[in-house]
Subunit: 422 residues, 2 copies
């Protein structure tokens, strides 16, 4: 089964938006064991659309399109699919009723825009697919074993339709499936990881093992080809255990590929751990300026354990809010191991929490000196009275330094809570 993706829209050709639909669909199809052979992007142009369908269906069995199903005259995707297969468009009553209802619900009291009626036209040979999140239905066109599936362009509508209707439809075309497992690691670089698990990487066949590096993090993706989910799960569990035996201490999250790009995995694991252990926490932040608190508070259940955060950006606030001693600030400066320690211990004391975390550093672009350059950040974690302070030297711009510092202090906290030697 060979599939090609066609993304329709002038906004893509102008570079106004990134084509995340193509990535989403490619990934989903790969997980079904369906090969994507080609991705194209064309404008809302009838001739080009027809040519594109023609070229694609010469090479492949199926085209999946996104975009061009809107109510305006510019939107031509399904019209061209119908023309390509020589099918006539007629009003699909059920869709029109649904569109009318939807318009009335979202704009009560207003007349239903007449151009929306265009969205309810389909060939009677096509299978119309309901769109639960918008007015543009999708459809499956078919003739002589060739198929065109049209889906709306807005990612939210497209993804929901794929999940609800298209994926189940595609299941008939595949007899093996690819299932991926993702492990996220913090605290080990890509090259070091590559060397550590060299034997596993070299001997991989099925499951395959791949590494992806991203700003101070590495992700391992294990992909098993199997007949069903259960078989895949056994294979993935086995390979994951092999990897964990070598670098398990750095793994802070493991799950399906939805955690691949999520920014939230590290903060979620830490927050989950805090809630599970019933450990209360407070944060004192200088250079991260609220990011540590904001990230922890991403976790919905955090209110059980998060007591308070202080963004003590000035020295005066460090003294007043955290009880950092003026002596320490005078002697060692605000960016020092000593200040970080007193901040973490101070916020824990003030908040009456089990844990205090703190950051202080120079995020740049200004403020660096030879002795204390931009990127120098002290992070501190105080758990039940014992304090661990780390001196970090981060590279990158202000945003990067602040993000790195936030992740580092969360990672250290995770390791301490898990009883892992830092």
């Amino acid at each position: 089964m060979r599939v090609e993706l066609v993304s329709v829209g002038t906004e893509l050709l102008l570079g106004d938006i990134v084509n995340t639909n193509a990535q989403y669909l490619s990934k989903e199809l790969a997980s079904l064991g369906i090969e994507v052979f080609n991705q194209s992007t064309v404008g809302d142009n009838p001739k080009r659309l027809l040519e594109c369908f023609d070229e694609a269906l010469k090479r492949s069995d199926m085209v999946i399109t996104t975009g061009g199903l809107g109510p305006t005259k510019d939107d031509l995707t399904k019209e061209m699919a119908a023309e390509y297969f020589g099918q006539e468009m007629v009003l699909h009553e059920e869709s029109w009723k649904y569109i009318e209802e939807r318009c009335r619900r979202f704009s009560p009291g207003k007349p239903v825009p007449p151009n929306n009626k265009k969205q309810a036209y389909f060939p009677k040979e096509a299978t119309v697919i309901k769109n639960n999140n918008g007015t543009a239905p999708g459809a499956i066109f078919e003739k002589d074993g060739k198929r065109i599936i049209v889906m709306p362009g807005p990612p939210r509508e497209m993804k929901a339709m794929f999940e609800e209707s298209i994926r189940p439809y595609l299941m008939q075309f595949t007899d093996s499936m690819l299932v991926s497992r993702v492990m996220r690691l913090y605290g080990i670089g890509e090259s070091a990881l590559e060397i550590a698990i060299e034997d596993i990487l070299d001997s991989q066949t099925n499951p395959t093992v791949a590494l992806y590096a991203k700003e101070a993090e590495v992700t391992i993706r294990i992909t098993a080809k199997a007949k069903n989910e259960e078989e895949a799960k056994v294979m993935l569990d086995e390979k994951s255990a092999e990897i964990r035996e070598i670098v398990g201490k750095y793994v802070y999250a493991e799950g399906d590929s939805s955690i691949m790009d999520g920014e939230s995995a590290l903060e979620y694991s830490v927050a989950e751990l805090l809630v599970k252990r019933g450990k209360t926490i407070a944060a004192a932040e200088s250079c991260t300026g609220g990011l540590v608190a904001a990230q922890l508070i991403n976790y919905p259940g955090i209110s059980e354990v998060f007591v308070e955060g202080c963004v003590t950006y000035t020295n005066e606030a460090k003294v007043r809010r955290l009880g950092v001693s003026q002596d320490t600030l005078d002697k060692y400066g605000a960016v020092s191991e000593q200040t970080a320690r007193e901040m973490a211990e101070g916020i824990r004391r003030e908040a009456g929490s089990d844990i205090g975390v703190a950051t202080t550093g120079i995020a740049g672009p200004g403020g660096g000196t030879d002795e204390k350059p931009v990127g120098l950040v002290y992070t501190a974690v105080c758990v039940d009275g014992e304090t661990f302070v780390r001196e970090n030297h981060f590279s990158g711009d202000r945003r990067k330094v602040r993000n790195r510092a936030t992740r580092q202090v969360l990672s250290d906290l995770r390791m301490i809570l898990e009883g892992i030697e830092i």
Copy 2:
């Protein structure tokens, strides 16, 4: 001049990465007035690459590729370009010397990997383009008025090469340029804006005016087609003034298209305003949990005016840190106009700052009641003793509610500082 983009790489077909190169190049070419006619993505496959060049150059004058210039046997883009034009690959001494130097510099003491030599082969008819950020040079292939430009896949290398060499090369093919101006608005919805500037939208020719909506924000993009930057600037200034006359109060930033996708525009305008006016600020946050502070602190010069932030997630912390009265909490609850007001006034008093801002609300998914549903957030801004409190009802998940609340309080602060009636 018709150009097509070809992105080469199996990782794109598998959906492992998003194709940001296509967006970047489309946008850059549009700004040169060069039309991108089609974007395709193919795997590292010789037959498919050749077919792809063939199809594209039947329709268009030039193909620009990214990816497939690596040192391994899989990397075939330039080999296929040479084959397509019937040109023979020979060692390009200068490139090989550069690659050798580069390898030695980055891996001192190690032998230069022999497979890197492949990266130095080009037809003698081709113009080789130096890569200042990697080992893979680019090249311009040409025959009978048809051209293939090959560039490396890693965005950092590709973008630098485009800026340094390809854009200047392409300038010969264009006699007019498109220059865009972006205005970012907060506080008005897309439909309301569309109605407000209907006449401008309906009568647009050159410059064109387009709207883009994104989570509680609208962006207006004005694009002028002109002979040079100066001429474009006059046209853009004029159109911008027309728009500002109608909806100027909502415009918080205006600039080139680099501010189109930036998340930082609102916080930057507010921070800039604070620094310019020398107004000190402190933030008291409940549901936003540090986001307001973290966003303000994104701005590099913020230390001059940001005094402190308090993430007072518990009632106890609101009383202890901000002096919110226990009576208010008992009588109205933590999520109330009264509490928001006392938080903003309290943090201002405690920090001794000119301005206090505060948020308190129910971010969800739990914690909502009929009376106080998920999404209810009170935001407060206290400037020099006068306090403005807003009751907001945000939809969306936890992350969205928190982001909306953060932006709302920053937007209100901006309007108050600018003396705009809210």
